[in-house]
């Protein structure tokens, strides 16, 4: 049947998910209300292993995974609600976020039984932190050009190469590393594999790369012949590219695409007061309207994942529209109030603006640069 190209549906949130929201909200009020560090958090980019363990104890990590691996066998929609609440509260979730979002699902799909038994329960308890080892000095958006080599040796691999922009590698336990296990094959997509690398193993060094936000976040991870045991190969040797592209789809459409700069919107509303001028009110109205719509677009993708459908086009659209939206918040704040961003000192709004300005450029780079995402959308539309 002809008709619309896009298949977003308006999803009904089940009763249990709505009840769960209240439960999570109460937990966060109790946990974060007592945390002095919370005052200076303007997004969810905080690292707090203690907090992650508490979240794990509540069963809110790996919620959709099978119980036998420490999961909760709950729906993707319940997980979506938990994610939303964590992000909206600027909770420090970095320690478990990557494992929950992409590496748990990756191991469930491609990992060995031993890997699932070893890693998934620890991930679900919030005890293990993963970093993403994809980008390299010469392989960013052109990810398949990775040059890190994993040479076969007795009992495993010897790893040589460098990863960059590795968020959280200085605090993480493992880095999921995309490496070339076969250099003899034709085509850059062939011969790639994913390896779980212990960041504390000999031969691994982590060097911080200060970013413009002033918080250590980025790192360069150097592998100088470090040994990776054979059982840390994820999936089949040479299937790395296929695995990585499916992993990226998990990463794309979650609430982190429209709730990373949410504190700035909140402070903007607080600053302008209960009776803002017409133009200011209209700016707030536009931002809130878009946010309400983005939430339902993201929920729709969660629902497609729940039903086992492949929402590649829709997930890319959520990321593109969501990140563009979040970047626009600082611009609107500037246009309306013209305040100077201030880090450290200054009002809540000035600090939230400073945080957002110096972090928002990354929104349309991480998880697929805007141009790459739009290429994926174009493919979904049938243009390429």
């Amino acid at each position: 049947m002809s008709g619309t190209i896009l298949r977003f549906e308006l999803c009904e949130l089940p009763v249990e998910a709505r009840a769960l929201r209240e439960e999570v909200r109460a937990f966060l009020r109790a946990e974060l209300g007592a945390d002095p560090a919370q005052r200076s958090r303007y997004s969810w980019f905080g690292f707090d292993p203690g907090f992650s363990r508490k979240v794990g104890a509540r069963g809110w990590i790996g919620m959709t995974w099978p119980r036998e691996y420490g999961g909760g066998e709950r729906s993707a929609l319940e997980r979506w609600v938990v994610q939303e609440e964590m992000l909206a509260a600027c909770a420090p979730v970095l320690s478990h976020w990557v494992a929950d979002r992409q590496y748990g699902p990756l191991l469930l799909r491609f990992g060995s039984e031993a890997q699932r038994r070893s890693f998934l329960p620890r991930m679900a308890r919030g005890e293990v932190c993963f970093a993403i080892g994809m980008s390299e000095p010469d392989a960013g958006s052109d990810l398949a050009s990775v040059r890190t080599r994993a040479n076969r040796v007795a009992g495993g691999y010897e790893l040589h190469g460098t990863k960059v922009w590795t968020s959280g590698a200085h605090i993480a336990d493992f880095v999921m590393t995309l490496a070339r296990t076969d250099t003899t094959l034709e085509g850059k997509h062939a011969g790639l594999s994913q390896l779980i690398v212990d960041l504390r193993a000999p031969g691994v060094s982590v060097r911080p790369i200060p970013d413009i936000s002033g918080v250590q976040h980025f790192n360069e991870v150097h592998f100088d012949g470090c040994f990776v045991p054979e059982q840390n190969l994820v999936g089949r040797e040479g299937d790395g590219w296929k695995q990585v592209t499916s992993e990226l789809a998990y990463e794309r459409s979650g609430p982190d695409r429209y709730l990373s700069a949410t504190r700035l919107l909140q402070e903007f509303v607080r600053h302008t007061g209960s009776e803002p001028a017409e133009h200011t009110a209209a700016t707030i109205g536009r931002l809130v309207a878009r946010k309400s719509v983005l939430r339902n677009l993201s929920l729709s993708v969660a629902s497609m994942l729940q039903d086992g459908r492949d929402p590649a086009l829709e997930a890319a659209l959520v990321k593109d529209v969501g990140t563009h939206y979040e970047q626009s918040i600082s611009e609107r704040v500037h246009e309306t109030l013209g305040i100077e961003p201030r880090a450290g000192t200054g009002s809540e709004l000035e600090r939230a603006q400073a945080w957002t300005l110096s972090n928002a450029p990354s929104f349309t780079i991480r998880g697929g640069a805007r141009e790459v995402i739009r290429g994926i959308i174009a493919r979904g539309l049938g243009l390429r």
Partner: protein, 348 residues
């Protein structure tokens, strides 16, 4: 989406594609009432989908009304479907009889309304309403007037002195003047209800028209060749249409949310949000779609203009996005920063 939704969408698509031909749209834009087209839509039960069967409706929901209006917007169907659905629903809600045939809608806002007066139990209508959708072509008009409170009045077309006008899309937007007009039925109305329902309907129509602009653009860049390859092969074009798709997705979702909220009860938040997001999408989509089509899209001969001229018109009707943005912003501000998130999630 249930299979019933799919069924209704598919039958609207088929029927409207069949009815809204170039010739039919051109004739309607020329001021000819498309009676056969109306009959076909009426017989298919699509004129009042959300009214109970006892009120000449199809016994469905506002969600059904959304499906019909989105498809009508996609096909630039030149009929007062939105006006009839809204007028009939307001009449039915007040317990009044719904007349057969199409309705015009004069959803006049406070301060500009004609006067409603009552003498010995008989209502009369006096004054002027401008920009009345389909005022000259529909046999009856539902008009919002001002008595002691806001009133909704059903008047026959022959009670008004008419001056024909049309919007950029060639749709009738007439000026009606009443002098002691006989009123067929009257009932009090909640403030700006009719105006808000107008915004609701235009949001769905705009979402449909944006979707159509995307569809036409995708088709065109795949067919049109320049520099030895299809336009679709150029990254610049791919990126632009990806942005257009984002607007289409947002507009469609915003409209759906608003109609679902109607089925649940208070929909004012979602209607405002929908009129804002669809209005923004209308502007951006029209721009991107025309750019993708080059000079061809600029011609009267090519069908893109049926969508874009409507988008430009509908965006400003029943409150432009700027109007609803300020309305929504004031509402959010009055509730305060700390209520923002819980208010948003409470509407799931």
């Amino acid at each position: 989406m249930t299979s019933d939704d799919d069924l209704l969408r598919d039958s609207c698509e088929l029927l409207f594609a069949d009815l809204a031909t170039r010739d039919a749209i051109e004739a309607a834009e020329g001021g000819v009432w498309p009676e056969t087209m109306w009959q076909a839509v009426e017989e298919a039960g699509l004129a009042r989908p959300q009214l109970p069967e006892s009120k000449a409706g199809a016994g469905g929901s506002w969600n059904d009304a959304h499906t019909v209006l989105f498809a009508a917007g996609r096909h630039a169907l030149p009929l007062p479907l939105a006006e009839t659905m809204i007028g009939a629903w307001l009449l039915a809600r007040a317990g009044l009889d719904v007349p057969a045939g199409p309705l015009a809608l004069a959803a006049v806002r406070e301060g500009e309304r004609p006067r409603a007066t009552q003498n010995h139990g008989v209502w009369r209508l006096d004054g002027i309403a401008r920009g009345v959708s389909w005022g000259d072509l529909a046999p009856h008009c539902v008009a919002v007037a001002q008595g002691e409170s806001a009133m909704m009045m059903l008047v026959a077309r022959d009670q008004a002195t008419l001056s024909r006008e049309s919007n950029l899309a060639g749709e009738p937007r007439d000026t009606l003047e009443w002098q002691g007009a006989t009123v067929l039925a009257a009932a009090p109305l909640q403030g700006e209800d009719a105006f808000m329902l107008g915004a609701l309907a235009r949001a769905a129509q705009m979402a449909g028209a944006v979707d159509r602009a995307l569809e036409l653009s995708v088709r065109y860049v795949l067919e049109r060749r320049q520099f030895g390859r299809p336009l679709a092969a150029f990254q610049a074009m791919q990126q632009a249409l990806a942005v257009l798709a984002g607007h289409a997705a947002a507009a469609a979702m915003a409209a759906k949310m608003a109609f679902r909220a109607m089925d649940r009860g208070d929909a004012s938040f979602e209607i405002a949000a929908a009129k804002i997001v669809c209005g923004e999408a209308a502007g951006a989509a029209a721009n991107l779609a025309h750019q993708a089509h080059g000079a061809m899209g600029f011609t009267r001969e090519y069908p893109l203009q049926y969508s874009t001229r409507r988008l430009w018109s509908w965006r400003a009707e029943f409150g432009a996005d700027s109007h609803w943005a300020a309305w929504l912003g004031r509402r959010v501000a009055a509730r305060g920063a700390d209520a923002l998130w819980s208010d948003l999630t409470s509407r799931d």
